[in-house]
């Protein structure tokens, strides 16, 4: 029966000491321990969330980069195309210009040749005329001794002149 009869003294001491222990532990042990645990859990959670966010941002950044690269590539292609086009145009232009110049020069040359030819012909004509006149003079000097023949000659000349 002794075993199940609570002793007043022990109840008193148990109550006093337990409450003191409860108070001291709550103040000096459980508060800092639970506080630190919570703080650590919060920091882990926020770190995980931040990591997730960083991953997302990274993905976005990567996607942005890829877009940028694609755009740059497109730009480059476009520029290359334009450059090729321009170069072709220039070549074309130069070619046509050269052809034009060439034909112009040929024309000029032809013209000059024509002029030279004309001049040469005129000279030849003049020389020929002079020569003919000289010859005619000489012939005339010799031939005009005879008046009939003179007449004959004049006639023939006149005939010729008409034919001309």
């Amino acid at each position: 029966m002794d075993l199940i009869t609570p002793n007043i003294g022990l109840i008193f001491w148990q109550l006093v000491i337990f409450l003191i222990v409860l108070f001291l532990l709550a103040k000096f042990a459980w508060k800092p321990i639970l506080g630190s645990l919570k703080e650590r859990e919060d920091s882990i959670e926020s770190a995980l969330r931040m990591a997730d966010q960083a991953k997302l941002e990274m993905q976005q950044l990567k996607a942005g980069n890829e877009k940028l690269i694609a755009e740059a590539r497109m730009e480059r292609d476009k520029m290359m195309q334009e450059a090729t086009q321009m170069a072709n145009q220039l070549i074309e232009q130069a070619k046509s210009k050269a052809t034009e110049e060439g034909s112009r020069m040929i024309m000029q040359a032809r013209e000059a040749i024509q002029n030279e030819k004309q001049a040469a012909l005129t000279e030849v004509k003049n020389t020929a005329a002079k020569l003919s006149i000289d010859i005619a003079e000489r012939i005339l000097r010799r031939e005009l001794a005879d008046s009939g023949s003179q007449q004959q000659l004049v006639d023939s000349y006149l005939k010729d002149v008409k034919l001309n």
Binding site: L3, L10, L25, W30, S36
Partner: protein
């Protein structure tokens, strides 16, 4: 397993009680006669001195004891404080003497005994250990701010987290934080004292009904102090129960309020005391049979029970804490539809077993 042990204990205790008259008879003729029942009750009971061992025989040997202060209050004489060594061997001091470890006045007057007994000394020791251990753990958190736990801190952290997550959060719900200091303190208080009680020569503190009664009363007070209208509504107007039945239900629920902490008190007391009794019974076998050949049996069973008691030490601390958390949870719960069989079923069963053990 528990039932098996209890059965074993019952069988073992039968010859003990049967022997008792014979033993007392023998005591008259032979002082050396051994009475296991007396020895066991002496070991699990409280004492005014801390007795560790006796070298030599009872009469002439050296007693290794630590005398403890006696603090007694008598309405007629007032307070008296003196060392318990003054009361040794049934001597009277200051009009007080010890009768079967009870302080009584020689003139038969009333005595209120507030002595620092073996249990109170053990209680103080455990309080000191608790404070030293957990301030060391808390210091670890301060020194090692934000880092991974180290040393003693890493041993206790999982337990603290377990109590918080598996006991408090699950049983109490969103308001668990207010009750964490109490839950952690009773868990570690019971566990440490259960373990201290297993030491040779130590006091049987958590197997003392006064201690478990105080703890259970604190749980009852906290439960009632934190109860909300839902809790009382559930008791006085249990939902879904026809009006005439309430005549029966209200007394039953009111008894339930008291029975819950009562079961806490009996469960812890009976489990720890039963464990001590079983271990001591196995040790007594040697003296009952007065043969060295029984010692292997004593050793094997004693070791087995002792290791089992290590498990029981933490299990009982856990059960006490869990049930306390459930009772508090039932009192603070906002929606009162799920909670009633949580503590009741398991608790009643345990208490039944515990009573059987006693």
């Amino acid at each position: 397993m528990k039932r098996l042990l209890i059965a074993l204990f019952c069988i073992l205790s039968l010859p003990v009680f049967a022997n008792e008259p014979a033993a007392t008879q023998a005591e008259a003729t032979d002082k050396e006669a051994f009475s296991p029942g007396e020895m066991i009750l002496h070991h699990i009971g409280d004492a005014h001195e801390w007795h560790f061992a006796t070298l030599g025989d009872e009469e002439h040997g050296t007693h290794l004891t630590l005398p403890l202060p006696v603090i007694a209050y008598q309405p007629t004489k007032g307070l008296s404080v003196f060392s318990s060594s003054n009361l040794a061997h049934g001597q009277a001091y200051n009009g007080l003497k010890l009768e079967h470890e009870h302080l009584v006045a020689e003139d038969g007057g009333k005595v209120y005994d507030f002595s620092i007994t073996k249990n109170v000394a053990s209680l103080l020791l455990s309080a000191l250990i608790l404070l030293l251990v957990f301030t060391a753990v808390a210091r670890g958190y301060r020194k090692n701010h934000g880092g991974a736990p180290r040393g003693i801190q890493s041993f206790f952290e999982p337990i603290v987290v377990f109590i918080r997550d598996e006991v408090a959060k699950k049983s109490i719900g969103p308001k668990y934080e207010r009750y964490m200091p109490y839950l952690l303190t009773i868990f570690f208080f019971i566990w440490f004292n259960n373990l201290l009680g297993l030491m040779p020569g130590a006091a049987n503190l958590t197997g003392n009904i006064a201690v478990t009664m105080t703890l259970a009363l604190l749980t009852l007070i906290i439960t009632l102090a934190s109860s909300n209208s839902n809790y009382w509504h559930h008791i006085f107007a249990t939902p879904g129960v026809p009006k005439p039945l309430l005549l029966i239900m209200i007394p039953v629920e009111l008894i339930g309020i008291v029975v819950k902490p009562f079961s806490l008190m009996i469960r812890l007391f009976a489990n720890i005391t039963a464990g001590h009794i079983v271990v001591l019974s196995f040790i007594s076998l040697i003296f009952i049979f007065q043969s060295i050949f029984i010692s292997p049996v004593t050793l094997a069973f004693g070791l087995f029970i002792n290791v089992l008691e290590l498990l029981v030490a933490i299990l009982q601390a856990y059960i006490f804490t869990l049930l306390t958390a459930m009772y508090i949870g039932g009192a603070v719960e906002e929606h009162h539809d799920a909670d009633y069989q949580m503590g009741g079923g398991d608790g009643a069963d345990e208490a039944h077993v515990a009573r059987a053990a006693h």
